[in-house]
């Protein structure tokens, strides 16, 4: 009788310690994961690595993901990098670089922009938003102009 009570008590204690320990682990685990910085270290990203140096040939362009919207990086035949928002100002299609004419072209309604982002023909009413381009080591960094 006495022994039975004792086993029941130790079983209870064992269960209590076990579940309490599990609970503590279940609390600490998310906290540690929370503290550890995520892959994208910043909330407001005004800067992104658009491409690597050498990735683009002269007189070509590349669409890159900038947040939830596309951006376009152009390596001009003159040898400099230009970056713009790739969202056409007419109806928000994604624009592309057209090497034969050396301008930025929107396939949806044939809108054209020059390499400063200015709308030069077709329906787009306003220029593409221009971004700043900087080269840091092997990376081509595109950043939104602030202020």
């Amino acid at each position: 009788m006495e022994g039975k009570v004792k086993t029941r008590r130790s079983l209870l204690n064992w269960l209590l310690t076990g579940s309490l320990g599990t609970l503590i682990l279940a609390t600490i685990y998310p906290i540690i994961r929370f503290i550890y910085p995520p892959d994208k270290p910043e909330a407001v990203r005004n800067t992104i690595v658009a491409a690597k140096v050498g990735e683009l040939e002269k007189n070509s362009g590349k669409i890159f993901k900038f947040g939830t919207k596309p951006g376009i990086l152009v390596y001009t035949s003159g040898g400099d990098y230009r970056a713009f928002s790739a969202v056409c100002t007419h109806l928000q299609c994604t624009v592309q670089y057209e090497p034969t004419r050396g301008d930025i072209w929107c396939a949806c309604h044939n809108g054209r922009f020059d390499l400063t982002g200015r709308n030069i023909s077709g329906p787009p009413p306003s220029p593409l938003e221009a971004y700043d381009v900087a080269i840091r080591g092997e990376e081509i960094i595109v950043s939104r102009r602030t202020g």
């Binding site: 906290i31 910043e42 909330a43």
Partner: protein
């Protein structure tokens, strides 16, 4: 073997810190056992939720940015990019609401049990101040995600403060940090929420807990009268019986929190746009709803006074009465039940519940 080592460490600490006096205190501590003992647990539960608020709040600070440009994005970042960030934020939000709910239960139970009577007047006052502080925590925290609903709720809320005669204008400017609700307001609310209020609340909570420790648990009137008449009252030891019961309360609260946070993750909403027109369905947090709803019902003018001002006046008076209840109810000190005050309290509670519900129906 391990027990010996534990003993050694304990002895070492005891001779330096004086643990044994604390242990002795806890061992000696007794909690009265009677038909209303259940209500005692709500104070502990409030404390537990407050601790959760502090912990989750501190962790959220690692990623939160208090500017109009980045606040919404940083909360979104916490929710979408940071591992378990959504959980951290959801728990912080749910726990805040749960804490105020439990705190209200705690307050009303103390009120109806008349535990504020001599010598616990200061305990009561510090408790009511803690409630006010919690409401301020809620009001300032609501704006921090900088979403549309919170933005306009803050606008309306501060507008109400601004309609007070004479002092309204400077108070409004003080609250908003300018004429309008802007990034300046956000930064200001942030500072209040994470530094000023915690500082005052910590002090107030320390006082509150110290006084509870000093006076012990209050008895309901009937039991107190019996004790006075020399009756033998049942007690249970604080350690471990009461503490374990308290722990059950905490754990249930924690379980409920985790359940709420995982099944109903706190929404982020749309980013605030100060230039946009106010959206339909602006509502304050639920614990302000009864006031918000009352102000909606009050006619524009009552006699020669503006309805809104009258409402504010009424709520300020009610707040003051609440704060000074121990001095209003002299009968409780003589262990007599002040019926009219109990009824008034019941009416206030019913009013609170009905107007809160009405706020969500309309």
């Amino acid at each position: 073997m391990t027990r010996d080592r534990g003993r050694k460490i304990y002895d070492w600490l005891d001779s330096r810190v004086g643990l044994s006096s604390v242990v002795e205190l806890l061992r000696q501590k007794q909690v009265p056992k009677h038909r209303h003992t259940t209500w005692y647990y709500f104070g502990g539960m409030t404390l537990f939720l407050f601790v959760i608020q502090i912990i989750t709040g501190i962790f959220l600070l690692l990623y939160y940015r208090p500017t109009a440009e980045a606040a919404y994005e940083s909360v979104k970042f916490i929710m979408t990019e940071v591992e378990f960030g959504w959980l951290m934020r959801s728990i912080h939000s749910w726990s805040a609401n749960l804490m105020i709910a439990v705190m209200l239960i705690h307050m009303f139970s103390v009120f109806f049990l008349k535990s504020y009577r001599k010598p616990r007047e200061v305990t009561w006052i510090s408790g009511v101040l803690l409630l006010f502080l919690s409401l301020a925590f809620g009001f300032s925290g609501y704006l921090l995600p900088w979403n549309k609903l919170a933005y306009f709720a803050t606008k309306v809320g501060t507008d109400i403060a601004g309609s007070i005669p004479v002092v309204g204008e400077p108070v409004l400017r003080l609250l908003r940090g300018g004429e309008e609700v802007t990034g300046a307001t956000l930064t200001r609310f942030f500072g209040v929420h994470v530094a000023i209020l915690p500082m005052i609340a910590t002090f107030m909570l320390g006082l509150h807990l110290f006084l509870i420790q000093k006076h012990g648990m209050a008895l309901p009137l009937k039991e107190a009268r019996e004790k006075e008449a020399g009756g033998d009252l049942q007690n249970i030891p604080f350690m471990p019986n009461f503490l374990l019961r308290d722990a059950i309360g905490w754990i249930i609260a924690l379980g409920f929190l985790v359940f709420l946070a995982s099944v109903f993750p706190w929404e982020l909403g749309e980013k605030a746009d100060p230039l946009a027109s106010a959206p339909a369905g602006i509502k304050p947090e639920w614990f302000f709803m009864f006031m918000f709803q009352t102000l909606k019902f009050i006619p524009g003018h009552i006699l020669f006074i503006e309805g809104e001002i009258l409402g504010i006046l009424a709520f300020s008076t009610a707040g003051a009465i609440l704060l000074f209840i121990p001095f209003i109810d002299k009968q409780a000190n003589r262990l007599q039940d002040n019926r009219s005050l109990t009824i008034a309290g019941a009416i206030a509670l019913i009013y609170f519940i009905i107007f809160t519900i009405l706020g969500y129906i309309y």
